[in-house]
């Protein structure tokens, strides 16, 4: 039994079968990559995991509990954090505040009327956030307006916001898209470091095969909404079905 069990999930958008009978099992403390050509349904699958979309049929179990029908914030509180394909950050807030908010969410739960305290007196939370920013090499940018960051920095910030929650399962939707090579390598190192430091399961969608092969222990190939193969990185490289799905897409 994996920490995440997806069984027979279907999702239609009008006439388009975006997900067709998807089965996926992600084992605890592994990095599981999902690859596949554009429009394969990878983001749609993640949307079904975090409560953004409701599948038409099937079941999604996380840590022994069903996530279907739960609200996004409830799913997050269960221990699933997600990095989006286009960075979702609090653009009007400072970088530091962006990271403090998930710290509050982790400590205080989905809602708390903490109107009688001041942000300035929350030293623990601030400390956690600053520490996290150091880990992603963004400490010098902490007082910047998050909206004014570069695209790569926005991604790193979003990743910091997810990591600081210490989720059990981290979902990453193309975390290095739009990053410079150096930042991509930093991100790989960061994720490896986190992985080494504590128990965390990661599910990563990526087009950059360098990232995939540096991190993944299992790889699922998705094409036209259906998983084709699930294999270890060594076995996937020369897999004929993968070549077929990716023909002309990337060097596998």
């Amino acid at each position: 039994m994996g920490i995440l069990e997806v069984k027979g999930v279907n999702k239609r958008f009008g006439g388009l079968q975006a997900l067709g009978d998807v089965n996926l099992s992600v084992k605890q403390n592994t990095v599981h990559a999902i690859i596949g050509p554009n429009g394969a349904g990878k983001s749609t699958l993640l949307n079904c995991l975090v409560g953004k979309l409701m599948p038409d049929s099937g079941s999604v179990m996380f840590d022994g509990q069903s996530v279907l029908g739960r609200k996004p914030h409830e799913i997050n509180q269960m221990g699933i954090s997600r990095v989006f394909q286009t960075p979702e950050i609090f653009a009007d807030l400072s970088v530091l505040e962006n990271v403090m908010i998930p710290c509050f969410a982790r400590r205080d739960g989905a809602f708390r009327l903490h109107a009688y305290e001041t942000v300035g007196s929350e030293r623990d939370i601030r400390g956690q956030a600053e520490h996290m920013l150091e880990d992603v090499n963004m400490a010098d940018k902490r007082h910047m307006h998050a909206g004014s960051l570069s695209r790569g920095d926005k991604r790193r910030l979003e990743m910091a916001m997810c990591l600081v929650q210490e989720p059990k399962l981290l979902l990453l939707d193309e975390p290095t898209a739009g990053m410079a090579r150096a930042d991509t390598n930093n991100t790989i190192d960061l994720l490896k470091e986190i992985k080494a430091k504590r128990d965390i399961t990661m599910c990563i969608i990526e087009h950059d095969m360098h990232v995939v092969f540096s991190l993944a222990e299992r790889i699922t190939v998705l094409a036209q909404g259906t998983p084709l193969v699930e294999e270890t990185p060594e076995n996937i490289k020369g897999h004929p079905k993968v070549r077929e799905a990716y023909l002309g897409e990337a060097q596998v």
Binding site: H73, I89, A115, Y116, V119, M161
Partner: protein
């Protein structure tokens, strides 16, 4: 001090000093002089400044922080007034229980209206709040006549029970443990005269408390969450935070502020009418907040003062006064100038206000507060330039020697 950082404390102290000396500051022109009509330091108007200041401060907690634009906050103002007048009728002319009930009732109504309206966001939220407010207005105007006294409005009468107060000979007046709200001491200094009214200082004290609470909310983790709602509600939800109770809490708090303002209006003048709930009143607080600067601390207070000043001062200027001012001109020119200015004064004050509002929104999206900070920046830059020039000159001198 008071859990505030230095900058916020400075602002609070500045606001406190200004409200304390407002009766003097707002009466800069000697009584009887030609400009005396620009004086705003009379109790009735000063009370309005601070009461609508409270209304706008509360509105800003919702709109300025979360970005949810309510078009129905006047409903809570009206509910506050009705509650207060009922307290004056049934219990006592003391303003304390009246105001407490105003806040509680407005808070309860806000809880219900907010619970329903906050299921939608953006324009749909605004329309829902507007619909609720108009419903309240119509109910107060007709259906609920036994409670609201319909068209006439709710007033105190001699035959009211007033359980705590006992018999009184004439129509009683509102008071704070014996200090009558309408009591005013006038101080004459040379040609000036200044009115110090109990009612004004009572309202001003409450406004300072209201302002202090709003500053604390702005600087609290709760306030940060409200800004997060405005910035990216989706991210907030995927971060494990439930945005709904946050917005509802902000809605209820701002409703309670409106209730306090409504209660104070009734405490200054114990009557309540349905007009107070009309959509124009809801729109006014939106204008105040945006004009002053939504999301800033003192913007709403500035905006409220600005609009109330215009409403009360500009509307009083008439053609007769204009002719006096321009009497020095040749007759034809005088008539022409008066005719040009005429649409903007008296009943036309709305036009002036509208134009100013448009100018502010277009050129100063951050409101009057942004205007003030821009002016401040220009001065600071000029100082720095002056410093540069001086230091350059000094360096040149040193080099020459």
């Amino acid at each position: 001090m008071l859990g505030l950082e230095r900058r916020d404390l400075t602002i609070l102290i500045a606001v406190a000093v200004i409200t304390l000396f407002a009766p003097i500051i707002l009466n800069p022109f000697p009584t009887g002089s030609a400009l005396a009509q620009f004086n705003a330091g009379y109790p009735d108007l000063m009370q309005r400044f601070v009461i609508f200041g409270i209304f706008a401060i509360g509105f800003n907690i919702l709109f300025g922080l979360t970005g949810y634009l309510s078009f129905g906050h006047a409903a809570f103002l009206g509910i506050g007034s009705y509650s207060a007048v009922w307290m004056f009728k049934l219990l006592s002319m003391n303003v304390i229980p009246a105001i407490l009930l105003s806040i509680v009732m407005a808070g309860l109504f806000a809880l219900v209206i907010g619970f329903v309206s906050l299921r939608r966001s953006g324009i749909y939220f605004s329309i829902l709040t507007l619909a609720f407010a108009q419903m309240s207005y119509n109910l107060a105007y007709s259906v609920l006549t036994p409670v609201t006294n319909g068209e006439t409005g709710l007033q105190i009468t001699l035959s009211d029970p007033r359980i705590l107060d006992g018999e009184s000979s004439g129509l009683p007046v509102t008071s704070l443990f014996g200090a009558e709200m309408r009591d005013t001491t006038t101080l004459f200094v040379g040609p000036w005269s200044w009115d110090f009214s109990v009612g004004y200082y009572f309202c001003a004290a409450l406004m300072l408390v209201a302002f202090y609470i709003s500053v604390r909310i702005f600087r609290s983790p709760f306030g940060m969450m409200l800004r997060a709602v405005k910035s990216n509600q989706q991210r907030m939800n995927y971060t494990g935070l439930n945005s709904r109770p946050y917005t509802l809490a902000a809605f209820v708090i701002s409703g309670m502020y409106a209730g306090l303002a409504g209660g104070l209006l009734a405490a200054m003048d114990p009557l309540a009418g349905a007009d107070r709930m009309q959509w124009t009143a809801s729109g006014e607080v939106v204008l105040m907040t945006i004009l002053g600067g939504a999301g800033t601390l003192i913007g709403p207070v500035l905006g409220a003062g600005f609009i109330k000043y215009f409403e009360n001062i500009f509307s009083k200027i008439n053609d007769g006064i204009l002719h006096q001012w321009f009497a020095f001109m040749p007759d034809g020119l005088e008539n022409f100038v008066v005719a040009v200015i005429h649409p903007f004064i008296g009943k036309g004050w709305h036009l002036t206000l509208g134009i100013m509002f448009m100018l502010v929104v277009i050129f100063l999206p951050g409101g009057l507060v942004e205007g003030a900070s821009r002016v401040g920046r220009v001065f600071r830059r000029r100082d720095r330039k002056a410093d540069h020039v001086e230091s350059d000159a000094a360096r040149q001198r040193a080099a020459a020697e």
